[in-house]
């Protein structure tokens, strides 16, 4: 999928983790992570519970702070500097396991809030943009409802639309389908596949292996705060290198 562009010019690097370490108090949760993501790449991250997947992607938009090493997103290094943090966040959208929609605002208001207040876009225009993305996630007719009146799958699609309204270059997904009933998983994955096909750079923590096979350029396996294995999906699933990966795959595939 990637080689056509790669052969001509060197692809643009949009996310770079260099020797990145993080501790929660004394607990060394991420150890010496190195990762390079180029523009348009889709990365799927998997691994057992507690391995640090969420923590890693939350470091990329500074919801968590790392203590050693470097994180560079779209050419900006994440430091204490608030300007740098805001710069990075303006390039990065994020979807959460539990959607985190704003329950006191309608779907449309959820989508317009950040464009109006962060990007200072006039309300009418922000609403137009929001409707465009709500159509893309196929729920324009729910625009005036409150999140509490929608199904889980619909809520997650609103959350995706809300992020897209900020026009991000990179989308982070933290187990976007694992809080959903099985029949709703598909509708969310469909939206994500479409997004991937449009060329969005994506890092996605998920255990939906079908999704990984369909869209991922690389699958990353993490355990105990380390990246154990990193490979293209076919190799990763058919020919895993480490014992830990084999064990993990046998556990989730026989599930």
């Amino acid at each position: 999928m990637t080689n056509s562009a790669a052969s001509e010019t060197k692809p643009e690097v949009v996310i770079e983790l260099k020797q990145m370490n993080k501790w929660y108090g004394d607990f060394h949760v991420l150890k010496e992570l190195n990762l390079t993501v180029t523009k348009g790449e889709k990365i799927v991250v998997c691994g057992p519970s507690g391995s640090g997947k969420s923590t890693m992607i939350r470091c990329i938009n500074r919801l968590e702070e790392h203590q050693a090493g470097q994180i560079i997103v779209s050419g900006t290094e994440l430091t204490e500097d608030l300007k740098a943090i805001n710069e990075v966040r303006s390039h990065v959208g994020m979807c959460f396991q539990h959607f985190n929609l704003f329950p006191h605002l309608t779907v449309l208001q959820n989508c317009c809030l950040a464009p109006i207040w962060v990007k200072k876009i006039p309300q009418a225009e922000a609403e137009k943009i929001a409707m465009k993305f709500l159509e893309r996630v196929k729920i324009p007719e729910q625009a005036d409802k409150y999140p509490g009146q929608l199904s889980g799958g619909q809520q997650q699609r609103v959350a995706i639309a809300r992020s897209l309204c900020m026009n991000p270059e990179i989308m982070l997904f933290d187990e976007p389908t694992s809080a959903l009933d099985p029949e709703m998983v598909r509708e969310v994955l469909d939206v994500m596949v479409e997004l991937a096909e449009e060329g969005m750079t994506m890092i996605c923590v998920t255990h939906e292996m079908g999704f990984a096979k369909q869209v991922a350029d690389r699958v990353i396996f993490m355990d105990r705060g380390e990246i154990i294995e990193e490979n293209v999906p076919t190799e990763f699933f058919d020919n895993p290198q480490s014992d830990r990966t084999k064990l993990f795959l046998s556990q989730i595939l026989n599930h």
Binding site: N86, L101, L113, A114, W117, V118, M166
Partner: protein, 363 residues
Amino acid sequence: MTVHEFKPDLAPPTSARGVVGWLKYNLFNGPVNSIFTLLLIYLVIPPLLSAFQWIFIDADFIGDSRDACTSDGACWVFISSRFEQLIYGFYPSEERWRVNIVFVSFALIIAGLIWPKTPQKTKLAIFSLVIYPIIVFYLLIGDSFGLAKVDTHQWGGLMLTLTLAVVGIVAALPFGILLALGRRSDMPIIRSFSTIYIEFWRAVPLITVLFMASVMLPLFVGSEVDFDKLMRALIGIIMFQSAYMAEVIRGGLQAIPKGQYEAGEALGLNYWQSTGLIILPQALKITIPSIVNTFIALFKDTSLVLIIGLFDLLAIGQSALADPAWLGFSTEMYVFVAFVFWVFCFGMSRYSVYLENKLHTGH
């Protein structure tokens, strides 16, 4: 393979049970329910009837001295002869139209803010919070624009009670919000200041606060500043009330899931934007019952200003009891004062219920 025929959507059935059906279903549904219903009727109805008789049927309404009190029931002539004082305190009679303007305009503003379809509500709210208080201040105090000066020590009765309560309520809410945010701040100085402030003011009784405000405030700010007594009481009440309000609001803030902050951050909203647009609207919404509860408590606590020599509604009522011409009519006075307090507090309570329902947006 058969194709499933989906049934058409129907309107829900209407429940037409009628009055008798309702009574039977809700009050006399089974022996236990029936016994409780009868017991309550037995316990509640007779006292209500005799109260009704005392207040309305056997009561005297017309007259201008105690000679008019001829029947067994209440003698409301006492109240009507004192009515102006109960409302205006010692505000000079020829200037009372100024207070009336404030009463009417205040009622209109409240109505405008409550009524759901008022146009330009935000502008009305800003006007009533910023410009209106200034107008009221000059109107009531006078001493400019050709109005005679009326010192605050001449204020009293219901107008004083309302002044204390409204200023206390309106000022304590923003201070309370700031203190609650401060107590949850990451910055140690702000956090300790807020915590110490809240814990100090919450732990002293309001009477003490009022007493300190009246006696000690002049010591702090220097005696050359001639601080108005009403102003001192207001400062004391606001200090005290903001601490209470802060704790109520902090409870609401704590109930907001961490994910809401994170979603705001991930979208690039800064602290004040997240707080103002995402966190506070939700936190205030869930704390409406407790906020109104503190408002109601404050409304009634304003009567404590008696101890620093201000005459609120209750104090005016009590001073009227000492009038030798009206000895023995304290019940009427207390019932009347209680009724006025009840009307305002009940109004606030109903409004809070209405707001809760209006702001409900699904689970």
